[in-house]
C-alpha cells in the first residue's frame, strides 16, 4: 500500500540527517509537505504575479529591435518557455535520481507532476517560436535546429506522460519513468548535437538565429525578469500539483482500504 511505503521510508532517512537537513525530513513526510505547501503557496503565487507583472511592463516598454522590429516582443515569452522546457526536464531528472538512488518518498510525486507542466511550457515554446518564425521565415514551421530540438523534447514529454498513464499503480510506474527520464537527460544533448549537425548539413547557415548571442541590455533585463517570473510560475504550479497528487494517492489508498475491508 502506498501510504505505508511513504511512511516506512522515514526511519531509513532519519539517522543520516540528524541535524543538518531538517528540511529534508520535513519534506519527506507527505503530511508535512502538505501543510508546508498550504502555507507557502499563497506567498509564492503573489510573488509570481508581482514578478510577471513587472516583467510584462518592462517587455511592453522595451524598444523595438532594429532588425526584427516589434516581433522581438515575442522573445520575452518565447525564451522563458524554452528555458523552462529544459529546466523542468532537469527538475524531473533530479527527482528521478531521488526515486532510483535515494528512494525519496516524494521524488516520484515531483517527477510525475512536473511532466504535464513541462509539456505545457514546451508546447508554448514551440507555439511562440512558430509565431515568431512566421514573420521571419514566411512559414510557421522551419526545420530549424533549435525548434526541431524543442519539438523532440515535446515528444519525449508526451511519451513520459503516456508512460505514467499506462500504469495504474504509481509506485510501479515511478521506476520506469525515472529510468526513461534519466536516459532522456543523457540523450537530449546528443539529440541536440545530431539535429544541429543534420541541420547544417542540409542548410548552410542562412536561417536567422533567434535571440542572438549579443543582447542589448534593454532586452536582457526584461528577459531576465520574465524568465524569473516564469520559473516562479512553474514552482507555484508544481507545488500545487504535487499537493494534488499526494491527495490523489491518499484517496487511492483509502479506496483500496475500503475495498479490502469488505472482503
Amino acid at each position: 500500500m502506498r501510504e505505508t511505503g511513504l511512511e516506512s521510508a522515514l526511519p531509513a532517512l532519519a539517522p543520516a540527517t540528524i541535524s543538518g537537513a531538517m528540511t529534508l525530513i520535513d519534506l519527506a513526510n507527505p503530511s508535512r509537505f502538505l501543510s508546508l505547501a498550504g502555507r507557502i503557496l499563497p506567498w509564492l503565487a503573489a510573488l509570481t504575479v508581482l514578478v510577471l507583472a513587472v516583467g510584462l511592463y518592462q517587455s511592453a516598454t522595451a524598444p523595438d529591435d532594429y532588425q526584427q522590429g516589434a516581433t522581438v516582443k515575442i522573445m520575452f515569452i518565447h525564451v522563458p518557455n524554452a528555458w523552462l522546457s529544459m529546466f523542468v526536464w532537469g527538475v524531473m531528472s533530479v527527482a528521478a535520481l531521488g526515486t532510483l538512488v535515494w528512494r525519496h518518498p516524494l521524488a516520484d510525486v515531483a517527477a510525475k507532476t512536473a511532466a504535464p507542466i513541462g509539456a505545457a511550457f514546451t508546447f508554448l515554446a514551440l507555439l511562440t517560436g512558430s509565431l515568431w518564425g512566421r514573420p521571419m521565415w514566411g512559414t510557421y514551421w522551419e526545420w530549424d535546429a533549435r525548434l526541431t530540438s524543442v519539438l523532440i523534447l515535446f515528444l519525449m514529454y508526451l511519451g513520459l506522460m503516456a508512460l505514467w498513464r499506462a500504469v495504474e499503480d504509481p509506485s510501479r510506474a515511478a521506476r520506469a519513468a525515472a529510468v526513461l527520464t534519466l536516459v532522456g537527460a543523457i540523450n537530449i544533448p546528443i539529440i541536440k548535437f545530431s539535429v544541429d549537425w543534420w541541420n547544417t548539413l542540409h542548410q548552410p547557415a542562412s536561417v536567422i538565429r533567434m535571440g542572438g548571442s549579443t543582447l542589448d541590455r534593454a532586452f536582457l533585463i526584461p528577459l531576465l525578469v520574465m524568465a524569473i517570473g516564469f520559473t516562479l510560475l512553474f514552482l507555484t504550479l508544481h507545488i500545487a500539483a504535487m499537493r494534488n497528487e499526494i491527495l490523489r494517492r491518499r484517496v487511492r489508498t483509502l479506496q483500496m482500504l475500503q475495498a479490502s475491508k469488505s472482503a
Binding site: 501510504e3 505505508t4 511512511e7 503530511s31 502538505l34 501543510s35 498550504g38 502555507r39 511592453a60 516598454t61 523595438d64 522590429g69 516589434a70 516581433t71 516582443k73 515575442i74 515569452i77 518565447h78 518557455n81 507542466i117 505545457a120 508546447f123 508554448l124 507555439l127 511562440t128 509565431l131 515568431w132 512566421r134 514573420p135 510560475l233 504550479l237 500545487a240 500539483a241 499537493r243 494534488n244 491527495l247 490523489r248 491518499r250 484517496v251 489508498t253 483509502l254 479506496q255 482500504l257 475500503q258
Partner: protein, 59 residues
C-alpha cells in the same frame, strides 16, 4: 507602444501563453477541489487512515 506590421502575431503569442497558463491554473485548482471532495466523501463513509488521523484536516 506600437507593434508594427506583425501585431497579430505578437498578440496571438501572448494570448496563447495566457490561455495555456490559465488552463494550467484552472486544472490545478479544480483537481485540488475534486481530490478534497473525494477525501471528504471517503471520510464520511468511515474510511480512516492507518495512523488514525483525519485525512482531511491537513491544510
Amino acid at each position: 507602444m506600437t507593434l508594427g506590421p506583425y501585431a497579430s502575431f505578437i498578440i496571438m503569442s501572448y494570448v496563447a501563453v495566457a490561455t495555456v497558463v490559465a488552463a494550467l491554473i484552472i486544472w490545478v485548482i479544480a483537481d485540488y477541489r475534486s481530490q478534497k471532495a473525494r477525501l471528504r466523501d471517503l471520510e464520511a463513509a468511515g474510511a480512516v487512515r492507518r495512523s488514525g488521523r483525519s485525512a482531511v484536516d491537513v491544510k
